[in-house]
């Protein structure tokens, strides 16, 4: 697989939901694609952040208040609904989901651009062949693809 792994595929890979063949393909691709590795890290962090978010149990007094309301039929003030976690918990979840989706869409837009790494690998694979004796080539082309390209530093 030389192609870019798309979002659902990366997500499935992260969840361990891919069968062995596509999984091997994704792993091979990621060994040479910094973009997909970064995307995978981003997904992993998002997943961890979501799973690590605090999940509060329903407060005991809320359960008691609900029970009392049914039993006693007591009328609550008009603003009481806005103070109840039962309103704000779904709203918070919705906001969090919206934020996550916006992050995802942003990264998807970035993915629409072609990453540079496969082109670098194609250039390196060919150019290393040019007039350099093969037996003592600067570096193996394949290994170039498998090794990290590193950060681009100041050049001049």
């Amino acid at each position: 697989m030389n192609g870019h792994a798309d979002g659902p595929e990366l997500s499935a890979y992260l969840d361990g939901a891919l069968s062995p063949e596509p999984r091997a393909r994704v792993e091979l691709h990621m060994s040479s694609c910094a973009d997909c590795r970064a995307e995978l890290d981003s997904l992993r962090h998002m997943k961890l952040a979501l799973s690590a978010a605090p999940r509060k149990a329903m407060p005991a007094d809320l359960a008691l208040a609900l029970e009392r309301r049914f039993v006693e039929g007591a009328a609550a003030p008009w603003y009481a609904a806005f103070t109840r976690p039962v309103i704000w918990a779904p709203a918070g979840a919705l906001a969090l989901a919206t934020f996550a989706v916006s992050l995802w869409l942003r990264s998807a837009a970035t993915l629409d651009e072609i990453p540079l790494e496969p082109l670098l690998a194609a250039h390196a694979r060919y150019s290393a062949e040019a007039l350099v004796p093969e037996d003592n080539l600067v570096a193996s082309n394949y290994s170039d693809q498998l090794s990290d390209l590193g950060d681009a530093p100041d050049y001049e």
Partner: protein
């Protein structure tokens, strides 16, 4: 008493010094010998160094070679353990790392579109060759073959060629007064050392083998490239700086495809990619985006990268050239 001739004096000196003195070869002849596939087995240690801006990257490897084209490279981690292994028989290549083996086609020079004669002709028209002596490399006497570009802005290349075996013991590419250079140099060299055939065994019995034949480039003409992509190619047969079209292939990137045309001046390779969608350049390493410059220029380990949009098409130029020369090439594509 008869006077001692120069040849006799040389022979006498060689006898006294214990090593045969060799006459300095012609540059062209030495280049031919250096580029020929060695006919002997050897092994050695090679240090690969890349100067890259303010960074330097070094990697050590063990090399084993056996004719006609079997080569094994063991890349070492800083602590000396083998980090990855590359084995090639000239036709196929396998790389093992992290318990996995990738097997694919090796780059085959004989599949090139440009003939070796034409490539050599280009080299001689674009570079001045000279031969000199240099300090020993890996303890062995060498000839220093220097390829100096006739045009400013291209990399120089020097090869330290073993005087006895004509095997290249050190290759250095550099741009004078620029921060980028790469060098591969033997630190130890044992010619004639018998090599165990098992060293050149492709693949591994216990590791996971993954076929990666798509990683090998094709060698297409511009006409074949246009047929393959289904688009009229605007790529020319020659470019400024003495570059001529050598061959092309198609690089698959996800659902997109990039036409990859390779140009050469006999030594330096310039890649021109024509892509369906824009290419994302890394944020770091950006060198030039200002007005008057035809595109965005960035740096990478493979040389400079110039991103250019022209005539509704997206181009990426890649090569080890000065930015001025790369800009001239880009203007020719506009």
């Amino acid at each position: 008493m008869r006077p001692i001739t120069n040849r006799a004096a040389t022979a006498l000196a060689a006898l006294l010094l214990g090593a045969p003195a060799r006459a300095m070869p012609a540059a062209d002849e030495l280049l031919q010998q250096a580029l020929a596939t060695p006919a002997i087995q050897y092994q050695g240690k090679v240090m690969v160094t890349q100067w890259y801006g303010r960074q330097t990257r070094a990697e050590e490897m063990h090399v084993h070679f056996s004719p006609p084209g079997n080569i094994r490279r063991e890349f070492l981690a800083p602590d000396g353990r083998v980090a990855r292994v590359s084995v090639s028989d000239g036709e196929f290549e396998s790389v093992s790392r992290d318990g996995k083996v990738v097997v694919g086609d090796a780059v085959r020079s004989y599949e090139k579109v440009m003939t070796p004669e034409r490539e050599r002709e280009l080299l001689l028209s674009n570079y001045e060759l000279s031969v000199g002596t240099a300090d020993k490399v890996a303890g062995r006497p060498v000839w220093l073959l220097t390829l100096e570009p006739k045009l400013k802005g291209k990399a120089w290349q020097s090869m330290a060629v073993d005087q006895e075996t004509k095997i290249v013991l050190r290759v250095k590419r550099y741009l004078p007064r620029r921060a980028y250079a790469s060098q591969a140099s033997f630190t130890s060299f044992e010619p004639g050392k018998a090599q165990d055939p098992a060293l050149f065994h492709l693949g591994g019995s216990t590791a996971t083998a993954i076929a990666a034949s798509a990683l090998a480039p094709d060698f297409m003409t511009l006409e074949q490239l246009a047929k393959e992509t289904g688009r009229d190619s605007r790529l020319p047969k020659s470019l400024p700086g003495g570059f001529s079209f050598e061959s092309a292939d198609v690089v698959k990137v996800g659902r997109s495809r990039a036409a990859h045309a390779r140009y050469t001046d006999g030594l330096t390779v310039l890649s021109v990619f024509e892509t369906e969608r824009p290419v994302k350049l890394p944020k770091s390493g950006l060198l030039e985006t200002g007005t008057g410059f035809p595109g965005a220029l960035s740096a990478s380990r493979g040389g400079k990268v110039l991103k250019l949009d022209a005539g509704g098409r997206h181009y990426i130029l890649m090569g080890d050239l000065s930015k001025e020369l790369l800009a001239d090439v880009a203007r020719a594509l506009k």
